[in-house]
Amino acid sequence: MIKIATAQLWVHDQDEALAFYTEKLGFQVRSDVTMAEMGNFRWLTVSPAGQEDVTIVLMAIPGPPVFEEETAQAVRDLTAKGAAGTVFLITDDVYAEYEQLKARGVEFVDAPEERAYGIDSSFRDPSGNHFRMMQAREVAV
């Protein structure tokens, strides 16, 4: 059996990301390790409270020798333009979560809106990464 353990997001600043994910989004730190022998590479993972087995690694955009400067700049720009991917969250009460996150200063792009598949909303992290937060529709027959 294969399971998803960690998915990765680029962030412009790991400290800023850490503050956003923990203080505003309410996620918890699962690991935060800096390795001096690897050029101070920092492995920083977070996930929602109650979901410890799947994490997001908030990855700093590396310069040379990992990425040459042109590539690093392109990744920074694509992330800033919101073109670096999306995380899809699910909750059983999107309106309550929306109010709570908004009160903590999360800037929403879409307030919760009824769709055919559920009630959907979206926001961004400080780097521009896109998050959707959805409550699945309970279909009655």
Binding site: H12, E16, A80, G82, V109, A116, P126, A140
Partner: protein
């Protein structure tokens, strides 16, 4: 404050259009969200996203209007105002240019909005229950 590439500010402006298209916002408000002068902003926005901010905001509004035409039974004028536009004439002209059909003709291409409405089962049960009628033959058989 943490480093943010210039494009992050442009994305903030685009997000503003996506979030608040229903309000009477314009390119000036988008430029302010990006913290740039209007002329500089328009140039940079187009370079980053391929459309001018004006075109982005208008097409976002028209996209939302198209959705409302498909999913609701609101009038064309109501939908025009719902998406932050104020002139029904301009709305109809822009919509027709972008979608190749007038709002009314566009709507007619899709199933009626009622087909999409997910009505809770309790409502279906209460409002869908036929009114009881008695028939003459029932009375004739001694029932009422």
């Amino acid at each position: 404050m943490a480093y943010a590439p210039p494009a992050r500010h442009l994305l903030r402006a685009r997000d503003l259009a996506d979030a608040r298209y229903a309000e009477p916002i314009g390119v000036e408000d988008m430029a302010a969200a990006a913290g740039l002068s209007r002329a500089h902003f328009s140039r940079e926005f187009r370079r980053a996203f391929g459309d001018s901010p004006h075109a982005y905001l208008l097409t976002r509004r028209l996209e939302r209007a198209a959705s409302l035409l498909r999913m609701t039974d609101r009038s064309v004028a109501e939908i025009c105002f719902d998406v932050g536009l104020t002139s029904v004439g301009s709305f109809t002209t822009s919509f027709t240019r972008m979608f190749g059909a007038s709002p009314t003709a566009y709507r007619a291409q899709f199933p009626p909005a009622a087909a999409w409405a997910v009505v809770p089962s309790c409502v279906v049960r209460v409002y869908g229950r036929p009114q009881h009628r008695t028939f003459r033959e029932d009375s004739a058989n001694g029932r009422d």
